[in-house]
Assembly symmetry: D2
Homo-oligomer: 383 residues x 4
C-alpha cells in the first residue's frame, strides 16, 4: 500500500533501486518525509505492536538501515541494506555490555584486534560480550552491527599504537553476519519478566570472529561519529512511538472511567479521577510538543544543532508518558497489571526507556553542559 | 517608540482614533499581532517588572480594555477606553470576594439591585465586598469593572423575577468610577508578606452605589459571557510573562553556578546542580511550547475551540515555572530568599498564579470534562 | 527450629494442639509476638522470596488462619486450620472480581443463594467469577475462603428478604474445598508479564457449588466484619515485607555504586547518585517508622483504633518503597530490569501493592473521613 | 509558671544558680527533659509565634546558651549566659556570609587576626561581613557569637603558622558584645518580602574589632567542634517547631473544608480535597516519627551516633511539612497567600528552612557518605 520504509529521509542510490528484484515491494516510499512528518506517523504506529514492523519501520532496523545508507560502501549496501529495505531480513545493534557501565561508552570492552599481515593485508579478530541485543534471537535476523574498541596491541600495529594515543575515541563499528559461528546468543533476557519474543533481547558472545576490511563501516575509530548520527532521528521515533502508546492507554483509561462505578458514581465522576485525566492530557501534550519541536530542530539545524532538544526528549518523554500510563494502570486496578490490556506492558516498556540508549543522568549532563556553554557566551558578551 | 498597546488584536474604532488628543502617543500599534506573536512579546516583557506598564500592556488593564473594545458602547469607550489606551489612567477588575469560595463564580454575593421607576427609568444599587482587587489602590486607577449578581427582589421587577428563574447565570458586569464615594479601599492585602505597591491588591467595599443603565456592559446577566471572552488571551499573557520571569531566574541561576564554589568545585561542576539545570531547561521549554500551542489554537479556532489548552496552561505553566524558580532559589541559598535578586518575589508570584483566576482544581475539572466529552463521541462512533 | 507460625497472636485452642499429629512440627510458637515484634520479623522475611513460606507465614494463609482461629467453629478449625498450621496444605482468599470495580466491596456479584427446605434444613448455592486469587493454582492449595453476597430471592426466604432491606451489608464468607467440582481455575493471570508460579494468581469460576451451613463462617451477612478484622495485622505484614524487600534492593544499589565506574569515577562519587542514596535511606526510614507506629497502635488500641494509620501505611509504604526500588533499578541500568537481580520483580510487585487490597484512592478517603470527624469534634468543643 | 528554659538538658552550674538575682524567674526548670520530651514540647510551641520566646526557648538563643553552658568559662557564663537564662537579653549567631557559598564552611572569610605582643599578651582583630544574622537587630540583643577563621599571618605568630598547616580546621568562635562600635547592622534582609521584625535578619559588618583571649570560646581552631555539638538538638527543635506550625495549618485547612462550598458541595466532599487531607496527615505523621526517632538516637547514642538521622530530618521535615502547608494554601485560595492566616508566612518560612543551616544538597551528601561507609563494612564482612 505504499506504507513502507517511510523513515527514509531521501532518495536511495540507484544501484539499490535497480537491483530490487522484489516485484511486490517498492523499496523507496513515494514521498520523503521530514522528521516532523515521520514523527507524527511514529505516534500512530506506536499505538500498535504490529504497525512498525508492518511498515518496515521497526527498531533497530531503521537505525541500522540509516547507518548503512549514510556510511556503507556499495558492497555493504548491496549485501545488507537491500534485503533490509525489502523486509527479507532483520538486524540487530550490539552496543551494551554486561560487565561494565555502558552508559559511559568509553567503558566498552569488546575488542577488535587488528593484525597487518606481511603482505600488507589487514585482518581483524573480534572478541567480547554484549547484552540487550534486541532482535538478535529473531530467526529472520541475519546481520549485527557491533560497536567495539580498537586493539592495536599486535606488534604489526606500531604506527596505529602511536596515533591512537593522541586520539580521543577508539570505537569502531563492524558488520558481522549472524551466520558466523563465533557469534552466539547465550540466553534470552527478560524485561520485568517478559521475554518480548519473538524479537527478544539477547546476551551475545563474540568469540574470535575473523573479519577483513569489508566488515568495517566508515573506517577504524569512527564508531562514535556513526553512533551519534544514528541518534537524533532515532530518538524522535522512539519518543513518538512512546507517545502513541501512552495516548492509547489514556484513551482506554477514559473509556474505563465511563464503564465502571464505585460508591454510586461512575469513576469519571470522582474528583480525583478527573484530576488524573486532566494531568494525563497535559503530560501527553507536553511530551508531543517537545518531541515535535525537536524534530523541527533536526529538520532545520541538523542533529548537531538539535542536541539540546534531543537530550531533553530522551529524558522527558519517558517520564511524562510513564505518568500517564501509571495513572491508567491505577484506574484499571487488577486488570491494569494483567495482560488483558496493553497497560502493564506499556508501563514497564516506558520504564525501560529511561535506561535504554543511556540513562537519564547521562543525557541531563549533556543538556546541562550545552546550557552552561550558552550561558558562558552570554556572560562574556555582556562584559 | 511604537511599543504601545501591542495587545490590541485588531483596528480600533474610528471614533477613538480621531479623538486621541495625545500627540506623543499613537494609541493603535502599527501592526496587529496574533496571539502567538503577542505571546512571544509577553515572555520578553515578563522578564522585567517595568516592561508591561512601559508598553501599556499590564494586567488588569489589557483585559479591561479588551472588554470595553469588544462589548462597550461608544460612550463607554470614549469615557474609559480612550484614556486607558492613552495610558492616562489605570483600571481594576473586581471579582473575587472574601466571604465565599469565589472559585465557583455562582457563589459571588455582590448584589446589583434593579429598580424600575414609575416613569420606566431604570436605576441600580450596587452593594458588596471584594478583595484581591489588583491595582485599585494605584492613585492613577480611575475605573473599576465589577462582577455582580442581579437582584430582582424589588417589587418593580416582577417580570425579571420570573425570567431569572429560567436562566442559568445572573451575573452582570458594571462600570464604577473610582471617584464614586460608595467605593472604598478598606485595606491593602499582602501576598506572602509583600504589598506589591504601588499597584497593590485591595479589599474593597461597595456601599449603596447608585448606577444607571449606562454603567452596564453588554446587558444584564451577560457577565459570564464577558468574563469568558476575557479569559483566553489573558491566560496567554499571564503564562508567557510567567515564563519570561522564570527564564530570567534560570539565567541568573546558570550564572551563579559559574561564580560560586563549594567543596573545591564550581557549583555547576556538581552533578546534582547539573540535574537542576537540565530539568529546568526542559520545564521552561515544555511550558513555552504548551502556551504557544494554545495561542495557535486561539488564533485558529477562537477562544472556545482552545478551551482545553487554555485550561491546561493555566495549571501547567505555574507548576513548571515554579519548579524552575524553586531550583534557582535553592542554588542561590540565602540570597535566593532575599530581595537582592528577583527570585524570591518570582517564586511567591508564581505560587499565587495557582490560585488567581481560579485554582488548579477548577481548571482540571474543565479539562477533564472536555476530554470525557470527546472520548464519549469516539466511543459512540465505534459502535 | 521454632520459627513457625510466628504470626499467631495468642494461644491456640486445646483441641488443635492436642490433635496435632505431626511430630516434627510444633504448631504453636514458643512465644506470642506483638504486632510490632512480628512486624520486625516480617521485614526480615520480606528480604527473601522463600522465607515467609519456610516459616509458614505467607499470604494469604496467615490471614485465612487468623479468620479461622478467630471466627471458625471447632469443626472448621479441625478440618482446615489444623492442616494449615501444620503446613500440610495451603489456601486462597477469593474476593476481587473481573466484571466490577471491586474497590467498592458493595459491587461484588458472586451470589450465595439461600434455600430453606421444607424440613427446615438450609442449603446454599454459590455462583460467580473471581480473579487475582493468589495461590489458587498451587497444587497444595486445598481450601478457598470466598467473599459473596447473600441472595434471598428464593421464595423460601421471605423473612430474610424483609430483613435484608434494612441491613447495610449482605456479604458472607464461605469455605469451599478446592476439590469441589464447581470451582475451577480458568486461567493464570500475569502481573506485569510474570505468572508468579508456583503460587500464581488465578481467574476462578464458581459454578453451582452446593454448600450447607457448615461452610459459612460466623454467619450470614457477617463477611464485612470478618474482612475488616483480617485487615489490620495483614497490612503490617504486607508493609513490613515490602520494606524488607526494598531494603535489600537498597543494599544492592549501594554495593553496585561501589563496583561500577563511569566518566572516571565510581558511581557513588557522582553527586546525583549520592542524592539517590540519601533520599532512599530517608524513604525507607519513614516507611518503617510509620508501619511500626501503626503496629503499636494495633497492639494498644486494637485494629479499630488504628484505622487511620492502617489506611496511611497502605498508601504510603508502597509509594515510599517503590521510589527506593525505582532508584535502584535506574542505577543498575539494564541489569536492573532483567531477572539477574530481584529489582525488576520488586518494582512491579510494589506497584501492584498500590492496587491489591483496594486502590490508594479508597484508603485516602477512609483516612480523610476519620480526620474530618476528629476535626469536627475539635471545632464543636471550641464553641 | 515553670515553663522556662525547658531546653536545658541538665543541671546548671552552681555559680549561675546562686547569682540569679531575678526573684520572679527560676532559671533552671524543675525537671530536665530528654531530647524526645523537649521535642514534643517544641511541636506545641511551634504552633505559635509567641510561645518559644514566652518560654525563653527561641532560636538562636537556645543554641547559644547551650554553647556557653557546655564550653564557656565561668566568666563568660556569668557575663552572658546568666542574663540570657534570665531572659534579660537576647543573642545572635553570626555564621553565613554574603560573598561566599557558606554551605561549605571552609569558604568563610571573616578573619580573626592574632597578634602576640612582646610581653606575651595576646590580642585579636576581627574583620568580616555576615548576613542572615537572625535577631541581631532586636534592641534586646546584647551579644553575638561569631564564627571566624584564624589568620596567623602576623609576624608574631610564626609557631601558629607552622601548626596551622597541619590542621584541618581553622575556625574559631568568639564572643562580641553588640555594644562594640566595630559591629554594625548594615541593613535588614527580607525573607520572601517579610522583614520578620522585631527579631529580623541583619547584614552585619565587623570592622577592626579588638578582642582579647577572654572572647574566645573553648580555644582557637575549635569552632567546627562547637558548631557541630550545637547542631543535633537544634535540629530537633527546628524540625518539631516546623511540624507544629504545619499541624496548625493542617487543622485550619480541615476547618476551612467544612466551612466553604463550591459547586454545590462542601470542599471536604470533593474527592481531590480528601486526597489532600489524607496526604497531609501522612506527611505530618512521617515527619514527626522521623524527628522523634532522631531525638531517641541523640538521647541514646549522642549527637555523633545520630548523625544519619540528623541529616535526614534536616532534609525531610521541611519537604514534608512544606507539602502540607502548600496544600492548605491552595485550599484557602486568596486568603491562603494573605496575612489573614498564618499559612503564607508558614510556607515561606518552611521553604527557607531548606536553605538555613546548610542547603539540602550538603546534608544529603553527609547522609550518603555515612550510608556508603556502613555498606562498605557490610561488604567487607561478607568476604
Amino acid at each position: 500500500m505504499g506504507f513502507w520504509n517511510l523513515f527514509l529521509p531521501h532518495q536511495l542510490p540507484n544501484h539499490l533501486v535497480s537491483s530490487n528484484n522484489n516485484n511486490s515491494i517498492k523499496i523507496s516510499p513515494s514521498i520523503y518525509l521530514s522528521n516532523r512528518e515521520y514523527g507524527i506517523l511514529c505516534e500512530v504506529m506506536g499505538r500498535s505492536t504490529l504497525a512498525p514492523e508492518a511498515c518496515n519501520c521497526s527498531a533497530p532496523d531503521t537505525g541500522n538501515m540509516e547507518v548503512l545508507l549514510k556510511h556503507g560502501t556499495t558492497e555493504q549496501q548491496a549485501q545488507y541494506l537491500l534485503p533490509l529495505l525489502q523486509g527479507n531480513i532483520r538486524s540487530t545493534f550490539l552496543m551494551t555490555e554486561p560487565d561494565v557501565a555502558s552508559s559511559d561508552a568509553r567503558n566498552l570492552e569488546t575488542k577488535l584486534t587488528k593484525i597487518v599481515e606481511s603482505d600488507g593485508r589487514v585482518r581483524y579478530v573480534l572478541n567480547g560480550k554484549k547484552w540487550w541485543s534486541t532482535g538478535a534471537m529473531d530467526p529472520r535476523c541475519k546481520v549485527a552491527l557491533v560497536v567495539c574498541k580498537m586493539d592495536y596491541s599486535h606488534p604489526s600495529c606500531a604506527a596505529e599504537q602511536h596515533n591512537a594515543k593522541q586520539q580521543r575515541g577508539h570505537q569502531t563499528i563492524v558488520i558481522v553476519p549472524m551466520s558466523h559461528p563465533g557469534i552466539k546468543c547465550v540466553r534470552a533476557l527478560t524485561v520485568f519478566g517478559s521475554d518480548d519474543a519473538p524479537h527478544g533481547h539477547a546476551e551475545v558472545s563474540l568469540n574470535n570472529i575473523e573479519l577483513d576490511e569489508t566488515a568495517v563501516i566508515l573506517g577504524e575509530g569512527r564508531g562514535f561519529e556513526i553512533a551519534q548520527s544514528r541518534l537524533g532521528p532515532g530518538r524522535i521515533h522512539h519518543c513518538m512511538r512512546a507517545i502513541g502508546l501512552a495516548a492509547r492507554c489514556y484513551e482506554l483509561m477514559l473509556e474505563r472511567t465511563m464503564q465502571r462505578q464505585t460508591f454510586g458514581k461512575f469513576l469519571h465522576e470522582h474528583g480525583s479521577c478527573r484530576e488524573m485525566i486532566a494531568d494525563s492530557r497535559s503530560d501527553l501534550e507536553a511530551a508531543r510538543l517537545l518531541t515535535l519541536a525537536c524534530a523541527d530542530d533536526i529538520d532545520q539545524l541538523g542533529a548537531k544543532g538539535a542536541r539540546d532538544k534531543i537530550a531533553m526528549i530522551k529524558v522527558a518523554v519517558p517520564e511524562y508518558t510513564s505518568r500517564v500510563v501509571d495513572r491508567a494502570v491505577q484506574i484499571f486496578g487488577g486488570a491494569g497489571v494483567s495482560s488483558d490490556f496493553p497497560l502493564a506492558r506499556a508501563l514497564v516498556g516506558l520504564r525501560t526507556l529511561r535506561i535504554a540508549d543511556g540513562p537519564d543522568a547521562v543525557h541531563k549532563v549533556t543538556l546541562a553542559k550545552l546550557e552552561l556553554r550558552k550561558a558562558k557566551k552570554r556572560m562574556q558578551s555582556k562584559i
